[in-house]
Symmetry: D2
Subunit: 342 residues, 4 copies
Amino acid sequence: MVTAGIVGGTGYTGVELLRLLARHPHVRLHAITSRGEAGTPVADLFPSLRGAVDLAFVDPGEATLERCDVVFFATPNGICMQQVRPLLAAGVRVIDLAADFRIRDVATWETWYKMKHACPDLVADAVYGLPEMYRSRVRTSRLVANPGCYPTSVQLGFLPLIEAGAVDPDHLIADAKSGVSGAGRKAEVHTLFSEAADNFKAYGVPGHRHLPEIAQGLSAMAGRVVMPVFVPHLTPMIRGIHATLYARLIRPVDLQALYEQRFASEPFVDILPAGSHPDTRSVRGANTCRIAVHQLRGGETVVILSVIDNLVKGAAGQAVQNMNIMFDLPETAGLEGLALLP
Amino acid sequence: MVTAGIVGGTGYTGVELLRLLARHPHVRLHAITSRGEAGTPVADLFPSLRGAVDLAFVDPGEATLERCDVVFFATPNGICMQQVRPLLAAGVRVIDLAADFRIRDVATWETWYKMKHACPDLVADAVYGLPEMYRSRVRTSRLVANPGCYPTSVQLGFLPLIEAGAVDPDHLIADAKSGVSGAGRKAEVHTLFSEAADNFKAYGVPGHRHLPEIAQGLSAMAGRVVMPVFVPHLTPMIRGIHATLYARLIRPVDLQALYEQRFASEPFVDILPAGSHPDTRSVRGANTCRIAVHQLRGGETVVILSVIDNLVKGAAGQAVQNMNIMFDLPETAGLEGLALLP
Amino acid sequence: MVTAGIVGGTGYTGVELLRLLARHPHVRLHAITSRGEAGTPVADLFPSLRGAVDLAFVDPGEATLERCDVVFFATPNGICMQQVRPLLAAGVRVIDLAADFRIRDVATWETWYKMKHACPDLVADAVYGLPEMYRSRVRTSRLVANPGCYPTSVQLGFLPLIEAGAVDPDHLIADAKSGVSGAGRKAEVHTLFSEAADNFKAYGVPGHRHLPEIAQGLSAMAGRVVMPVFVPHLTPMIRGIHATLYARLIRPVDLQALYEQRFASEPFVDILPAGSHPDTRSVRGANTCRIAVHQLRGGETVVILSVIDNLVKGAAGQAVQNMNIMFDLPETAGLEGLALLP
Amino acid sequence: MVTAGIVGGTGYTGVELLRLLARHPHVRLHAITSRGEAGTPVADLFPSLRGAVDLAFVDPGEATLERCDVVFFATPNGICMQQVRPLLAAGVRVIDLAADFRIRDVATWETWYKMKHACPDLVADAVYGLPEMYRSRVRTSRLVANPGCYPTSVQLGFLPLIEAGAVDPDHLIADAKSGVSGAGRKAEVHTLFSEAADNFKAYGVPGHRHLPEIAQGLSAMAGRVVMPVFVPHLTPMIRGIHATLYARLIRPVDLQALYEQRFASEPFVDILPAGSHPDTRSVRGANTCRIAVHQLRGGETVVILSVIDNLVKGAAGQAVQNMNIMFDLPETAGLEGLALLP
């Protein structure tokens, strides 16, 4: 059994981690911390976990996290980098669901996240936890930077095209739509039901923090600098990301075969039959990324449709997948649950 | 033209007042106050008003509200009672959309609202602004307590039955369901989209502030103390209240005729044909209360279905209706807009 | 392994059965029938099942259902009674998720369901599959009538009160609210998104088919005829039923203890702490019924709040629970999945 | 007063026309036809119109539409072309809200709409009713082809850029998202609440009927053939279209000034301040198109955000606007209603 701890279990990625880990056959939950809710039984805050999670939130100072095999940080940006060093020193392996270790260039990170990085020396050490790109490095990593939700859907969608050198890397567009849970469980006016329901809008067009993360990933695939156009939108659903990706072919290629082959052995990437349109609910609650590939008439333009559940493959599920890889567990352990439809 | 001011225009009742007053043929908007947003153009906060409202929010201290004919308080509870006295002294007539003057018994008010009343002497002076009960008193009032949203739907639904002495006043049940906008535009976790969407729950079963208001109204109708059972619920829609009312007949009565006659001359109460089930969207954006009456087989139990838009007949629309009455304008002026369906 | 077949797998109860059975550790899916979709891979119709269900729909005539240990009917009312006899003759055990065998009085059934019963002799034989009432009879039954969704939530909510003789059985009210999936996957105008979203309404106030089923169940608990008032409502969410139940106490009783004791050994009924308000999402996708008990001030009136997922404890999950009981499997097998929140 | 008739008033564009025309100061409703609902009072089908529309649906054969000044066709595609000739002969002016007369090339129309055109000679005669492009021709037209919803949002969004020759017309992308009411009030599985709620998907990527209409409009602006990439999506809201448009600048231009000047005298196009993100609810129920313009860092790529209410500026509202122009009424008559927010 792997002994696991969670720092910051009161947000949506936290409760999603709890949902998955509470039923994971090889995991024992050791502690869940929360400064604000210390002492409160977890199931009081999240009645969906009644009968399955008996722990109460504990103050970070009393959590004895150093006794864990793995600690997940389901915290706001900037927390993990403050607390990770003693855990690593104690031999604990760490998976950060926030952004502290996602960007390899510290200056870029500091610009976008508007704070000084607390441990730039660890950034180079961290592995970006997108298993479809970095599985072998994840396996041996002691510090995994779990990818963002938009970056997961966009990178998986572009991956075969860019790796194959089939598209013009200077003209990539990612038009992405997210459910509201992507904004977290913070009390804010713009994510109130009466603001976000029956409404649709773009946001962050001049710049969004996931852009440098996406650009870094696509650049790694391409072996050169790639800076896509990225426009996120808020759509009135709870979970789900739908990325609509546009690229221009620079040589003939059998797109369907390219995608099917690239992901043939991936347990959590599903290439739909040609002509399909994935809907986000087909992955609601599941750790799957479903992708459909379209080549438009005339043929130059490729449209890729990529969907994930932002809280699962886009956050907690991918974190569990990374843990499975790190501890040589079956990669699908605890992640077999099927999507809830309808 | 009636010169109108609004105190606290940044919440949902505020923006709804603006939507209605901006197109009211007999009203000139003089000022809208907000401490937090002073200087911000109203249309920056509410782009739906672009081109229709040119005012900016002003600090309460600079609003010269004493020059208005009428001032609406679209504020949290406890504000109007602090500010109303100088306005009344200046001859301004006041409509409070909050609860400060709704409960005639000051001790009861202080118990439920958990504060000391700032001007108990004015409470007796205030008129409860439910035109279907108190139209003539509203006409001459200088201080109108605009009813709450639940109380409007419940009182109008029970009114004919209780006035006619047709039901047992000791066994009244109001099972009411509200859209989320009833909770206002405050940043709170429980009204986030991801908390309130695709979800349904009761709340406040042990006690809700609208209970004493409803009880006061029903008691006035009955001429004796009436204390109904009241259970509010939160339903995942933006606007709308649906009250399902249960009562027990104590004498035979033609219910359909009773309701049609009682409201025959009311411009904003619509009795549906026998056997109907009103939906909340049939009043979305409109100042109408639609009611259907059902007598169950066997005959003793009456089920009344009463729907309103909580922001219109349940708040801003009823306030405008009261203003129209107070200033001898046509009662429907500015309130002719039809419900938005679908 | 239990070999299972499904008749009529294209509706919501069908796909929910598939979701649960595909991951059930003791079940092998033998066949899924559909006249209209024969030949179509199940995962083409329901992409959420891709990779987990490899079967295609087969024509009922070619399904060799007689080789199954158990057959589920996820069909419209009136189908099971036409097809059940040869299956029973072949020794197959049958669970009908429709209403054909729920009502013991055939004349009552024919009145409400507006058709002639095809095998009234089997009605007496069938066991009503509410395990919390009839577990031992379910165990040995060859034909289980799986309860309706509203009846499950209402009966479980009233059960301890009525069994204990604590309330007046002549004054029971069930005000119930259902998500739209309860209406099934039929193309109908009133359940279109643009009709049902951002809207709330009652329906069936003069009479609903679940009323005789509820009345039969409550009568069995009380040992006398009980005819409650039942008002169903449609609420804009996909899954979930919230029943708000009103009853009048006729003797003092410790309600919280009564409920906790009655369901102490039930794996799928969860009594919340006193003062709670369950939300439907706390059981979204799970086979749990969560109940909260409130005694109002003054004390005579009891308000019970009972929530289920209409497709799980209200349909497919309860059917799997019944199957587990019938085949001496652990009652929770295949039903351990936690609710999806948010 | 203009005497107006509506053919096919039972769909969403029909009821929206009724909402607008019932309160239009210069219009008298003469007749509303429906084969299926003949004899039914309009307000029975649409209770939102109770008290405002007293007409009943009449059979098309008895509607005496030739006595109207204007007839609106709110019918499926292919109906208007069958019935328009005698109306025109009687001097009635016609506005078709369907697609029969939108595409000037009859062969193209027949390919996309999969039927033979019934009166190709009238196609050349018809005027495409996008007032921002063809106001003067609308004024004198006897047959107006009211634009589609997607085409309205996309064409208005691209108009200034293409007219000014500022972008490469070979690389235009329109990623558009529509509320579900765009699919109409037909009973279909894919637009059921339980299918479309809490879900997001693209559709029609290989080809959508609005593509040739958009291409025709952009080509007219550019003076050459333009074939954009167009990907429509279904988003879980009732009303609203959000078009996210991508183009590549080929010369420096002050985008904000370009847009503000182009639409300076347009009553129903609102250019937001630089840096804005319009939300669809800001036009819910209103005839306004709100547009924001973004030039991305680096500068080559332009992102235009354009929102409309698909049933108003995208259908019934634009039809009323065209009627106002045709009959020399104030262009905003009957269209002053403000958006419903929240």
